[in-house]
Symmetry: C2
Subunit: 105 residues, 2 copies
Amino acid sequence: NETAKAELGRASWKLLHTTLSRFPKKPAKDEREALSSFLYLFARLYPCGECATHFQALLQRYPPQTSSRDAAAQWGCFVHNLVNERLHKPAFDCGAVTEMYKCGC
Amino acid sequence: NETAKAELGRASWKLLHTTLSRFPKKPAKDEREALSSFLYLFARLYPCGECATHFQALLQRYPPQTSSRDAAAQWGCFVHNLVNERLHKPAFDCGAVTEMYKCGC
Ligand SMILES: Cc1cc2nc3c(=O)[nH]c(=O)nc-3n(C[C@H](O)[C@H](O)[C@H](O)COP(=O)(O)OP(=O)(O)OC[C@H]3O[C@@H](n4cnc5c(N)ncnc54)[C@H](O)[C@@H]3O)c2cc1C
Ligand SMILES: Cc1cc2nc3c(=O)[nH]c(=O)nc-3n(C[C@H](O)[C@H](O)[C@H](O)COP(=O)(O)OP(=O)(O)OC[C@H]3O[C@@H](n4cnc5c(N)ncnc54)[C@H](O)[C@@H]3O)c2cc1C
């Protein structure tokens, strides 16, 4: 069922990018560790097995950038673009990514 | 911005319930720990601060149930219903929750 897989993907990217765009601008060590652990656990538990396997390999090659909000948001945009490329989707312009994902809070 | 907050909520619940509905039926100890850690980190990093604070308190009172897929999915439905109650939304029938959240994989 490709529709369910795509809907789950869209929902998950929304949560991921919004989380990264709200990450502290100057994170403390424990905040950096929390984000990094969250992303590895997300990749491990992600319900689409094929997606999870591929994303785990991406994390190995491109570990999460957690030094600042901008670094984290740009890293998220970059890895999403690698998934886009694999799925023959157009690349996304990462310039405005931090401003784009609002949480309304 | 209430629309952004609601959209983020819908996306996040979709990921959470789908993850719980695909959790192993007989999880190993490390899988149980992974799910539990993921949920606490999710609650910590969730971009809506008011939501995160409230959800962290819920996790304290009702720790994640990780002994099986069904236990996890029912726990997820239960805590979402507590959030629904707080927001004056109708309670959701948890009977069919495991079947409802398909990942298409
Ligand atoms: C971790 C992960 C791994 C996945 N792996 C696979 C897989 O292996 N196979 C598979 O079939 N599907 C996979 N998916 C699903 C896939 O990435 C899409 O979510 C799905 O195909 C729906 O695509 P979409 O075109 O609606 O846009 P999505 O890729 O879901 O993107 C949603 C929206 O985000 C914005 N966006 C697009 N690119 C970026 C970017 N680089 N940075 C920030 N915002 C952006 C756009 O506004 C877009 O409409 C994966 C999803 C996730 C979360
Ligand atoms: C952890 C968390 C905490 C939140 N805290 C707040 C808060 O404090 N204040 C605030 O304003 N908003 C909060 N939100 C957002 C809020 O819960 C809703 O997501 C948002 O208001 C949109 O609501 P909705 O009516 O579209 O349905 P949602 O509650 O988003 O539910 C989406 C869909 O899930 C299904 N569903 C409903 N209940 C259940 C259930 N119990 N089990 C399984 N599936 C169900 C239904 O099909 C529903 O349409 C929070 C979100 C999350 C993820």
